[in-house]
């Protein structure tokens, strides 16, 4: 079972590298390649793209053969945690952009805290409030980060 899974990882990973490599080549072709003596801006990215694509292909091929098993971390989907972590960063940008630093801080910590199943609503709110206070003292007052505390629109 585990060996099948590790192979799947290699196949997927190799495929991903192959796609990124080919994509890089395609994009690099938009710039002038030049010659070995007088390289254009596209030369270096193009060579990297080729190397990456070849490496990806080799990883993919190696994944098709059975590899010896290695101890690997279990990776279970944590949709709730993943969603909350990503949303919390998005919230920092969006709320920070429209309402300022303190609301952004509060919502970032609050949303991220919901990602952990063991956090209750009260715990999340208290944590967010504490971090907002830390933000006010450390980042705004001590370090003087250039970010308005509150704004509207």
């Amino acid at each position: 079972m585990t060996s099948n899974q590790s192979n799947l990882k290699d196949i997927l990973g190799g495929g991903l590298m192959l796609v990124i490599g080919l994509g890089t080549c395609w994009q690099a072709a938009q710039y002038e390649l030049g010659s070995l003596q007088q390289m254009g801006p596209g030369f270096f990215p193009m060579s990297l793209g080729v190397i990456l694509a070849v490496t990806g292909l080799l990883i993919l091929i190696s994944g098709l053969r059975t590899a010896p098993e290695m101890p690997r971390m279990k990776w279970q989907p944590q949709w709730r945690g993943w969603l909350c972590i990503c949303t919390s960063l998005v919230a920092f940008v969006v709320i920070g952009n429209f309402f300022g630093l303190l609301p952004a801080t509060f919502s970032t910590v609050l949303i991220a805290a919901f990602g952990d199943r063991k956090n209750s609503l009260a715990a999340a709110i208290i944590l967010a409030a504490c971090m907002t206070l830390v933000c006010l003292i450390v980042f705004w007052w001590l370090l003087q980060v250039q970010f308005p505390l509150f704004k509207w629109g």
Binding site: K9, L12, G13, L16, M17, G21, T24, Y31, E32, L36, Q37, Q38, M39, G40, P41, G42, F43, F44, P45, L48, I51, L52, T55, G56, I59, S62, R65, T66, M73, K74, W75, Q78, G81, W82, C84, I85, S88, L89, V90, F92, V93, N97, A104, T105, T108, V109, L110, A112, A113, G115, D116, A123, A124, L127, M131, C135, F139, V145, Q146, F147
Partner: protein, 496 residues
């Protein structure tokens, strides 16, 4: 020449004890230790979170603080490994094997005391090597032209990629990804905007801090959320417990020396990660032990050797970083990036042009390690309490620090988007068993690699043989090729 080094070092102590520098060094050690102790946070996340703070500082205190954070957090990681069996910091994973059994036997204090002693001893040896070796290396490095610089960077990148555990091909792929990430922005030679996809925020390239925080911060949270279970048992520790007995000292002394030796040797090799170094130090002890079955059940040697190795490697790692401009591992890549942001180009000219910074840094290593020793004795109780901070409070707070930290690098919210993208990408790479550390190495060296590659071929009129014509460059190329072929042969043989 050694006499000159000692005079320079004396001057360096003068720089390092200036109150402003001393305070920042202390702050670095303290904060690094604090973050390193927290579960799930390592030296890389500690440095990248605090990197933005140094932008507004003068170069010398900034670098002293970053170095302090580095060895402070490294020490903090050992505490987590010994007391809680937390292998969150890969270099200390091996310390768990014997450190945690010692804790279970009620000898946590002894283990920590031995760790402290080994770290201090190893760091001192590492610093001495650095004082003696750097000027020598610089003399050679002054003869380097573009082909030599390119080939030694290639060696650094390849060894960084292949020395990590697992498939060497995956390491190479990650180095290439790192090199690719350095491309967006303005091409230095022609002034053309490359790979910006019409996003003006990318004109100056991708932000180093965004990559580091995304790959080593957010990606780790994505991996650990709801899966990391820290069973914190209340641990009581008194000062008295930390003093090892004479017999214990005798038992740990030789492993400490051997560990230091392993760390120094591996530190001199560019690209070998700290994790592999500590594992080798542990393996050496086990091989040499009269009764190896004690290992894994609380052998002091199994704590002393890897911790000594990791600390001497830390110090020796600074040699190629400062004198050649080639970082040995991702943490060094970050410190190199910090120097570049400060407008200082590490390389052979650093020691002469920025003598204050170079010798001040070396002197501050010693001072910082003494501070670390002094701090940890009274603060150990506090660290034990910090270890018990639940992860569910830790990562939301850290996410905020990451967001505001990366914003403050350029006062630009666009960088928070970058962090998010790299966080998700990093999590995908980790999930597919790719090592993410080489990305940072590739990213920092990328512009230098491209520049020197283009220059070399411009000078040689497009003749690729230029890399093999000069003896120094040819040597680096041959070592690179050997390294890759040996690693590939070992790896391929697993399939047959």
């Amino acid at each position: 020449m050694i006499g000159q080094s000692i005079i320079d070092l004396w001057h360096g102590f003068g720089v390092a004890v200036q109150p402003a520098n001393l305070i920042w060094s202390l702050v670095g050690v303290l904060v690094g230790n604090l973050i390193g102790v927290l579960p799930g946070m390592g030296a890389l996340s500690a440095i990248s979170m605090l990197l933005p703070l140094t932008y507004a500082m003068h170069p010398i205190p900034a670098i002293l603080m970053l170095a302090g954070i580095f060895y402070g957090s490294q020490y903090g990681g050992a505490i987590g490994a010994i007391l809680l069996n937390l292998p969150c910091h890969p270099p200390h994973a091996v310390t768990c094997l014997d450190g945690y059994p010692l804790t279970q036997q009620g000898k946590a204090g002894t283990a920590l005391g031995i760790t402290m002693l080994s770290s201090f001893f190893a760091a001192s040896v590492g610093i001495t090597v650095m004082v003696l070796a750097s000027p020598l290396l610089v003399r050679i490095a002054f003869k380097f032209g573009p082909p030599e610089i390119f080939s030694i960077m290639l060696l650094g990148l390849l060894s960084g990629a292949t020395m990590s555990r697992g498939s060497p091909l995956k390491g190479v792929a990650m180095v290439v990804i790192g090199l690719l990430l350095s491309i967006p922005g303005t091409d230095v030679m022609t002034g053309i905007q490359r790979f910006t996809f019409g996003i003006t925020n990318l004109d100056d390239g991708i932000e180093l801090v965004a990559i580091a925080l995304g790959m080593f911060g957010v990606a780790e949270f994505l991996r650990n959320v709801n899966s990391l279970n820290v069973a914190a048992a209340p641990i009581k520790m008194r000062l008295r417990d930390m003093r090892p007995s004479l017999a214990e000292l005798r038992q740990a002394f030789m492993p400490m020396v051997r560990g230091t030796l392993v760390g120094t040797l591996f530190g001199a090799m560019p690209g070998t990660g700290p994790t592999i170094t500590t594992f080798i130090a542990y393996a050496v002890e086990r091989r040499l032990a009269k009764n190896p079955e004690r290992f894994g059940k609380g052998a002091l040697e199994g704590v002393a050797a890897p911790e000594a190795a990791s600390h001497s490697k830390t110090q020796v790692d600074f040699i190629p970083t400062m004198s050649l401009g080639i970082p040995g591992d991702p943490v060094m890549a970050l410190i190199l990036g910090a120097l570049l942001i400060q407008g200082i180009q590490p390389g052979p000219t650093l020691i002469t042009d920025h003598a204050d910074l170079f010798w001040g840094l070396i002197a501050s290593f010693w001072i910082g390690n003494v501070l670390l020793l002094l701090l940890n004795v009274p603060l150990i109780g506090l660290w034990v309490k910090l270890l018990q901070v639940p992860y569910r409070f830790l990562f939301p707070s850290a996410l905020f620090f990451i967001a505001v930290g990366v914003y403050s690098t350029n006062n630009n919210l666009f960088e928070v988007w970058e962090v998010l993208v790299f966080g998700i990408a990093g999590a995908i790479f980790i999930a597919l068993d790719f090592p993410v550390a080489p990305i940072l190495l590739g990213f920092v060296l990328g512009p230098l690699v491209e520049d020197n590659f283009r220059r070399s071929l411009l000078l040689s009129h497009g003749n690729m043989a230029v890399f093999f014509q000069q003896p120094i460059s040819a040597g680096f190329m041959i070592v690179s090729i050997l390294l890759v072929s040996i690693r590939l042969i070992i790896w391929v043989r697993k399939f047959v």
